[in-house]
Amino acid sequence: MQVTLKIFRYNPEVDKTFHYETYTLEAEETDRVLDVLERVKGQIDGTLSFRRSCAHGVCGSDALRINGRNMLACKTLIRDVGDKITVEPLLGLKVVKDLIVDMEPFFDNYKRILPYFINDSPPPADGKERLQTPEQRARFDETTKCILCAACTTSCPSFWASDQYYGPAALVTAHRFIFDSRDEGAAERMHIIAETDGLARCHTAYNCTLACPREIHITKAIGELKMATITGRLD
């Protein structure tokens, strides 16, 4: 089948502002959008720039706005989006070149919520693992799936309004640690996410949940965090 791609272009070394280029090429309906972008770059226009790596939805490099919705280009097939495809960079982060955005504010927000395991108690005397029941492990399973692709955060109207908002991805990571029975940093993190740039800026637009390529129920996870800050309980 023939597909027509309309792609956002911006080269800061040449362009005063962005424009769109249209490319038409042959594709299979089972091709990934990434496959088609690769062919545009390889065979039609070598100047087209975008990030990609694993090509199967686990590294998080190629989150893009495809027909207006945030998706991973490598996890979206032509048959999912049809033969007229508009590809644009994520919203809310500065465009550096074409489909490449500045990821630094995103990772800066991630770092603000103490995104690491905190437990200063000595591990068991036998040197082995800390124990955790399968039920305790299941409590935070979903939020361990996050690949930091930024599809959620850049779909969030609150983040568009202010990149000082931690955003859904950072809150997902906070959830992953706060509900881990082994972690001892919950109080400190709860204090951080209860600040102005934290949970209060989530107005349950639900965009994050729809955007997540890992099918994490982000709005629900944020809801659990909100409940925990109100009740002070972590069950």
Partner: protein, 597 residues
């Protein structure tokens, strides 16, 4: 001089090995980690099934058994001192990851959960043993995230999206790294006392591969250009179960959970090739079995793929036939719900890319280029060794897939790559920091960026008619067709000639992006030169080795030949040609014998 940075230790690459090295080195030395990707984009994150360690959480297991299984899996080409070291370190390092917060799955009594994997056995009964410690089917993702998080906690310095282009070696010692900052197009010099390569694999040489676009063998290519050899490059692992046509990995954990391979006649065929462990034989054995079935016309509908079947009714039927039991002795059975819980990502991949639901339908699979057993030669402390006598190159280290210790020999066992990256990443980091403490900076050469600049300029200024994408496609197809699971003198000679042709053609490309900011076209072209160099060294090493061993299967020399070939290949690039030499394998406890599964 602009853009010069000084660090005691510079780590190149931020996957599991690089992060582990960075974490450990930074405890005592001023350390930087430079990576062409954001660390969490590294391909460690794609590893699925588990990390091997004889914890014995579900049944009896011992590091000695893990050692023997790895030696046997390596087809006796692995160095036994290094293998023993790795397998003995395994339990402690897995506990260490757990203490860092890694969310392993749990047994009912709260310990780290373990599952069976190919080639891992109880050495007394010969039956599969539960040794793979797992976090669902995203164990690598959890290792990558956990290590990156710990690096943030410990304030490790990162230079994200910096592409290493050259390693500086002065007076026989490592002196630093030259890298391109992708966001600006500027070159940077990292002056260092010690350099650790942790740049990952080079599976992008092949058409069907589980490897990320980023896996272009940069570390090995840089080393070759600086006169350092590559070891055992002919041994490349084809994982038996890649998604048909796409090559995306389907973990061996599927077979660990009871999945079986089925041919076009609807028969389970692995018992014909590995009567004892059947579908859980090691990867080289299973990949060859699939090719043999296809060659005999027993692919699905006569085509070039077979099925991997993990439907509960299939699993339960064959588990009963095999007499498989749970740890408490009851018969092993599973349900669709349990499979979904244990293999969520695999099921997601199949639904997304194939429109197939593995709980109700079998998955079409074919072998996929997966893992480089070969790489930059090192000893078991991660120190790079540069000749037949294992002479250390002071200040240069390598760990993970880009290194060849050699713990994987001619064929790597599943779960041992995650183990390799954390064990040898850690020790390379410790060693490098210790070395840096006792040495001064080697002065930089007059123009440290010269060689890197020259390579980029050659690509930028080339003004021919050739196309990078086209050359890349031709290389991949040639290597998959003629340097794949089975090889002969004829196919390999064909491949080598083709690679030489492509190496010439790449000099006559024409790039259209003349900019500096994120010039990914230039980067793709440079990476292609790396891939071509590695394809050449791989093929030349393979042509010379007149035997079949592990991942190197020759139809014209179908038997292993210990009398002549129980030795490691070393390949140098000298004056545009590949030169080969050999060094002995370290054998301690296990004398080579016939390898039967």
């Amino acid at each position: 001089m602009a853009n010069v940075h000084q660090f005691d230790v510079v780590v190149v690459g931020a996957g599991g090995a690089g992060l582990m090295a960075g974490l450990y080195a930074s405890r005592t030395a001023k350390t930087a980690v430079i990576s062409k990707l954001y660390p969490t984009r590294s391909h460690t994150g794609a590893a699925q099934g588990g990390i091997g360690a004889a914890l014995g959480n579900l049944e009896e297991d011992r590091p000695e058994w893990h050692t023997y299984d790895t030696v046997k899996g390596s087809d006796y080409l692995g160095d036994q001192d290094a293998i023993e070291f790795m397998c003995n370190e395994a339990p402690q390092i897995v506990y260490e990851l757990e203490h860092m917060g890694l969310p392993f799955d749990r047994t009912p009594d709260g310990r780290i959960a373990q599952r069976p994997f190919g080639g891992h056995t109880n050495n007394v009964t010969g039956k599969p043993v539960r040794r793979a410690c797992h976090a669902a089917d995203r164990t690598g993702h959890m290792i990558l995230q956990t290590l990156y998080q710990q690096c943030i906690k410990n304030n490790v310095n990162f230079f994200d999206e910096f592409q290493a282009l050259d390693v500086l070696i002065e007076n026989g010692k490592a002196a630093g790294v030259v890298a391109l900052e992708l966001a600006t197009g500027e070159l940077h010099t990292f002056h260092a006392k010690a350099v650790i390569f942790a740049t990952g694999g080079h599976g992008r040489i092949w058409e069907i591969t589980s490897n990320a676009y980023a896996l272009t063998g940069d570390g090995i290519a840089l080393a070759l250009r600086r006169g350092i050899p590559a070891e055992d490059m002919e041994f490349f692992q084809f994982h038996p179960t890649g998604i048909y046509k796409l090559g995306i990995l389907i973990t061996e954990g599927v077979r660990g959970e009871g999945g079986v391979l089925i041919n076009g006649k609807g028969e389970r065929f692995m018992p014909n090739y590995a009567p004892k462990v059947k579908d859980l034989a090691s990867r080289d054995v299973v990949s060859r079995a699939i090719y043999m079935e296809i060659r005999e016309g027993r692919g699905i509908n006569g085509s070039n793929y077979v099925y991997l079947d993990v439907r509960p009714e299939t699993v339960n039927k064959f588990a009963a036939l095999d007499g498989r039991t749970n740890p408490d002795g009851t018969p092993y059975t599973t349900t669709g719900e349990q499979i979904l819980k244990k293999l969520p990502d695999i099921i997601d991949f199949c639904r997304t890319y194939l429109g197939v639901d593995p709980v109700t339908q079998p998955m079409p699979i074919q072998p996929t280029a997966h893992y480089a057993m070969g790489g930059i030669p090192t000893n078991m402390y991660g120190e790079v060794v540069v000749d037949e006598k294992n002479t250390v190159l002071p200040g240069l280290y390598a760990a993970g897939e880009c290194a060849c210790v050699s713990v994987h020999g001619a064929n790597r066992l599943g779960t041992n790559s995650l183990l390799d990256i954390v064990v040898f990443g850690k020790h390379a980091g410790l060693r490098a920091a210790e070395y840096a403490k006792g040495t001064d900076f080697t002065p930089l050469p007059a123009d440290p960026q010269g060689f890197a600049r020259q390579q980029l300029e050659a690509l930028r200024s080339a003004n021919g008619k050739e196309n990078v994408f086209q050359i890349s496609q031709e290389m991949k197809k040639e290597m998959f067709d003629n340097m794949g699971v089975f090889r002969t003198q004829e196919t390999m000679t064909h491949a080598l000639n083709k690679i030489h042709e492509l190496q010439e053609r790449v000099k006559h490309i024409k790039l259209s992006d003349t900019g500096r900011i994120f010039n990914t076209e230039l980067l793709n072209a440079w990476e292609l030169t790396n891939l071509l160099d590695l394809a050449e060294v791989t093929t030349a090493s393979a042509l010379a080795r007149q035997e079949s061993r592990g991942g190197h299967a020759r139809e014209d020399f179908p038997k292993r030949d210990d009398a002549n070939w129980l030795k490691h290949t070393l390949a140098w690039k000298k004056n545009g040609k590949v030169e080969l030499n050999y060094k002995p394998v370290v054998i301690t406890k296990y004398q080579p014998k016939e390898r039967v599964y």
